[in-house]
Symmetry: C3
């Protein structure tokens, strides 16, 4: 049960999740760009350092639960990057957009179940009042062979 | 021919389109998020309730006209959701971005024809002066097997 | 080596790149929409006029270098369109988001190398201080058979 008076940093400590190091770019881009009070994060993959934690396509060599685990890893990278950029996750006022792109076969149709693993972690840490709009689809392939990539636009407090 | 003095709600009545019930989420997200004067809608599919009105891949079991019908259904869902969120479609000042994602084969190349079915409905209801920038591509698969998903960012009047 | 005191238009002249005519829509949309100080460009393909300069799928009939050449052509279209919309590239203060969508096989994993060709051209012309956040994935197929499509959101000076 969410306790409204808790902050995102309180919740992060409470659910005892250890954030990874924030991912660094592997190309000619930056991790995030802020314009006004919107912070656009670069695409976050299921990676540790510059390696994928799992490789494959959901509906082919991976199933829904594999996809959910990858979405969870990518969402941890989102939190790590947001914390690094903002100093504190308490500065996130809203997840404006969450895009969940799943490397999937043409016959796959359960993308929302994979996406929910990312949505649930972000909600459990950042709070119910920050819950995002969402865009989910199946792509042909992703960088490094990651089965999931997340697009995140955050609204931040000054 | 568009009559500039008509409002979006006038045009909706005139072309005698009955809007469906606004789609509700099937996952841990919300239908739309407003930040400043931008309203980000969650991805809209060719659905009625939580079921796809048509299932398949354009260029495989579906052709361009099937794709256009699906894009029209998804665009009706966009209008229904925008009306529910804003109270009136007259509050839409601009469609900033329309993304049209078509479940398509690698050989398919007529995505713009499919996308135009969504663009045309939005233009006919919301007005020429609201016409969007657009992003269109073919994806591997979509939630529920829908052949089309729409991403919409609206600029809204206070 | 970047000379900070040079403007984007200076750099464009110096690297002696001739911009193509800005792409025009082939459907019911507009080339770009500005809201506040954000300019959303429609998806830019590897096209000259309304024809693709190269057709295919990376990892199938095209390799990474073919993809890079296509990304470079699409990025030139981005610059041409931005210049047409804004009057001068000196008005670009930031590339907020660069999306690079590569028509690719399920087994392809080197999307960042393709994407860097677009990122590098934008950086070399618009300047290090404008470098974008980035989103990259492999799609099933693209309009006209183009192997690359670019999504660009610019922050512009008044």
């Amino acid at each position: 049960m969410a306790i409204p008076s808790m902050t995102a940093e309180d919740r992060l400590a409470k659910i005892d999740v250890r954030l990874p190091d924030a991912p660094t770019p592997f190309g000619a881009y930056v991790p995030a760009v802020q314009t006004g009070n919107l912070l656009f994060l670069s695409g976050m993959l299921a990676t540790s350092g510059h390696a994928a934690t799992v490789v494959g396509v959901v509906g082919q060599n991976l199933d829904v639960n594999d996809g959910r685990r990858a979405a969870n890893v990518a969402a941890l990278n989102v939190l790590a990057l947001a914390k690094k950029e903002l100093g504190s996750l308490n500065r996130v006022s809203r997840v404006v957009r969450l895009g969940v792109y799943v490397a999937a076969t043409p016959a796959f149709s359960e993308h929302p179940k994979v996406a929910d693993a990312a949505s649930e972690l972000l909600r459990d840490v950042l709070g119910e009042e920050t819950v995002s709009s969402r865009l989910v689809f199946g792509v042909a392939s992703l960088p490094l062979g990651s089965p999931v990539e997340l697009e995140v636009i955050l609204e931040v407090k000054a």
